[in-house]
Amino acid sequence: MSEFEKIEYKPRSVREILIEMKDISELMMDLAYSAALFNDYELAEEVLELESHVDTLAYQLNMSTMVATRDPEDAEALVGVLKVASSADKISDAAADIAMIVLRNIGVHPLVSEVFKKAEEGLVKATVHPNSILAGKRLSELELASKIGVDIIAIRRKKHWIINPKGRETIQKNDILIARGSHSGVDELKKLAEGTLQKLEEE
């Protein structure tokens, strides 16, 4: 990473930027852990790209906060916003550290998969079989988050990763899905993707 882009002030609200930083930094942790767990080089590269995006956002947030500060009261109230933003930035850096483990071929001991089996949230990687009921459905019609407590955080389609897919995204056969959620939920998603389960069983 030797190239640094010039960062210009953009008239965006502090709130909007901070929401984006918080969401991306949390997503990055899951993506980074997934990259380590599934030893996925390209997913790790996606994490690094997101990290530099979060850096840009951090600069923009600092600028927007400065513009919004008019008096000492504003300064006192807004310093907390900057602290939260700096925490989100640190989390994105921590995620990038994990991605670097993968990219430098340091390797992750097989023990790590044991850790993920025992952790509170499960992560899963599953390929969508042509017979899967997920194929051809939009994420918004599946409502996986509310029905089985699972969130699809990335989709690998042909040679590209779609990170944090939106509701309008349609799942296609042969997509590789990375999802997080409750252990029973991610198990169910894997079966749905592989076509061994043909009905979305709501809990």
Binding site: V14, K22, A77, S87, I91, A94, D97, G107, A119, S146
Partner: protein, 196 residues
């Protein structure tokens, strides 16, 4: 070669580091959203716990007698441990905002409320089907897509374990996808028939 016992201990400690660091982030954001000093203090205490646990974890890995060719893999483990510690620090930094300022800026509350994952504080009423169930029996994540981070009972905080029993009047602090918020409200208040 590390013994089976050492390996089990390594897995157990790294799992606790990962879970605790993530719990801390959720609690830290919750402390801001609810402007709650006690939650923030809980985060600070957990941060000390993570520091100690992380040191123990590193000592354990270093003393487990691995071979040269395995050492690269163990480096990956150590690095993941470091990351959990960094997340814990970042969470403590967020909690500090609450501990130092009386009123977080309204923008922070909006941010946490509008983010994809949300935090909910809800009291369990006597009509709720959750009453007297253990966390495992209650199956809240499966039913609502939300995780209970902490339970406030009287004036103490309980970190829910699978066998923790839910009482009438407990206040649940839960995080999860915004879609699950309404489901959990109904479950805790018992106001609408439970979905299968």
């Amino acid at each position: 070669m590390p013994s089976k016992e050492q390996i089990e201990k390594i897995v157990e400690m790294l799992t606790e580091l990962k879970n605790t660091s993530e719990l801390m982030m959720d609690l830290a954001y919750s402390s801001i959203l609810l402007n709650n000093r006690e939650l923030a203090e809980e985060v600070e205490q957990l941060e000390e716990h993570v520091d100690e646990l992380h040191t123990e974890f590193e000592l354990l890995v270093l003393s487990s007698g691995f071979k040269r060719q395995e050492s690269k893999n163990f480096l990956g483990l150590i690095r993941i441990g470091v990351v959990t510690e960094k997340i814990a620090d970042a969470a403590a930094e967020i909690a500090e905002v609450v501990l130092r300022q009386l009123e977080p800026h309204p923008v922070l509350k909006l941010v946490i409320e509008e983010a994809e994952e949300t935090v909910l504080r809800i009291q369990v009423s006597e009509n709720s089907s959750l009453v007297n169930k253990t966390m495992r029996e209650a199956r809240i994540p499966e039913k609502t897509g939300m995780w209970v981070l902490a339970i406030r009972r009287g004036n103490r905080w309980i970190r829910p374990k699978p066998h923790t029993r839910i009482h009438v009047g407990d206040i649940l602090i839960a995080a999860g996808y915004a879609e699950g918020e309404e489901d959990l409200k109904q479950l805790a208040t018992g106001k609408s028939p439970e979905r299968r």
